[in-house]
Assembly symmetry: C2
Homo-oligomer: 261 residues x 2
């Protein structure tokens, strides 16, 4: 088709990296590509924190659900949903006085800002992923950065209204790395025409059928099928509860009404 | 650099489309590219609703903050954060009985699932954007799809735990379309090393300086600078409140604990 479609199709989540260093110029191209991503009203409500420090990467590998490979990635980028900067700009622009003078309500950050900022951050992150692939580098998303809310705020020196939503590990593919892109669900279960289509129980089973065929019985989760395994291993797990806790704290902090910026 | 980086750099939000039709095969490549995007634990917690129906596009152009160009896009794709399918799978897989038998809590959807699903949806959307660009098509994100919560649920036939988070308008660039990518903030305000950097008030002013130079005085918002204009036009506006209302309803529906799937 073309080289962009090709690299999108060949991309895998990379958890093992070549020892080849990521040169600052290469990282710059990736970061600039992220910054060219679409952003709501060109407000760029995100920040990217580039981490190369070995100690910090090691710490993150522990706080992000104990995944040692994180520490071995040459570069880690944390994508922060960030309306701290914009609201500071509102403050220094005299928006408080503007509201009084024009009889407008003063709206400090809310769910809408968190949503736009998180969207901006995810969209920028995926541009970084695609740009990295085009340069021969692989990536892995770490959603666990939303866990351990207070620890990560301290570790990354995050102010109010600045919440990490994604983390990327980044490095070159090892030589002769076997790329085996994972099977996706059939398109008929993901793409609908004109409106949402409620799938029948039979269709839902069929959708997951391929996964279900690979469940070893017995297993440590006492699961009898893939649905129970997925729940026991992930969606009913402690780290998912921890993720939920972190998000509750984040949402509360963005929704807390302030009387000034 | 390479063709992928090049198209990322040249991309603009396209609000005017060529009359050239988007062939089903072309749309398929874009949708497949979206489906190749990274997804949390390969769970693909999203759905894509493809809309070509003229009446429905017209309706969306009204419900999404009255933007007539939406109706003129050949294709509109709504990206839905969706854990409805997965939780139905949990139900048919007997996860309720599994929890009882193994003395585990039954966790129905929560903020963690909404977060992962929304992240999956945004990341897939951006893959669609990049794939479209590589094929000569332009896109525009419409965040307003989170407004008018109840109207959009009805219009798109959305079940519980299926929330639209992004909408893309899609079509070919008109011939000789002048592409003028918007200026982004300087990298030093967006990319930080090792930890978040609190910008001083002077830096914040400098960051927005270029925007501030283009504010016509007087203006309909009574704004005296760009900060006040941005607030008056957008972040203090009615549509932002409506966006916030929609998101509050969405978050409440995902956080509402159920005693079964």
């Amino acid at each position: 088709m073309n080289s962009t479609i090709d690299l999108i199709n060949k991309r895998v989540s990379l958890r093992k990296y070549s020892e080849r260093e990521v040169a600052p110029e290469v990282l710059d191209v990736i970061l600039n590509s992220a910054m060219r991503a679409p952003t709501a009203g060109n407000t760029m409500m995100y920040s990217m924190i580039v981490i190369r420090d070995e100690e910090k990467k090691k710490r993150l590998s522990q706080t992000c659900d104990n995944q040692p490979f994180i520490a071995k990635a040459p570069v880690v980028i944390v994508f922060v949903a960030d309306s701290h900067k914009m609201n500071k700009y509102f403050k220094v622009s005299g928006v408080g006085e503007y509201c009084e003078k024009n009889n407008k309500n003063l709206n400090t950050p809310d769910l809408a800002q968190l949503f736009l900022a998180a969207g901006d951050a995810f969209i920028a992150a995926q541009n970084a992923v695609v740009a990295a692939e085009s340069l021969g580098l692989g990536t892995c998303y770490i959603g666990d950065i939303v866990e351990n809310y207070d620890t990560h705020r301290k570790l990354l020196n995050l102010p109010n209204w600045a919440t990490p939503v994604a983390m990327l590990c980044l490095g070159y593919y090892p030589e002769d790395y076997p790329r085996t892109p994972k099977t996706r669900f059939d398109k008929k279960y993901v793409v609908f025409e004109e409106e949402y289509k409620e799938l029948t129980e039979e269709e839902i089973f069929e959708m997951y059928n391929e996964n279900d065929r690979n469940v070893p019985i017995p297993n440590v989760y006492n699961a009898e099928n893939f649905g129970q395994l997925l729940y026991g291993r992930k969606f009913g797990s402690d780290f998912m509860k921890e993720m939920n806790n972190g998000l509750i704290k984040a949402v509360e902090s963005w929704m807390k009404k302030q009387d000034k910026f």
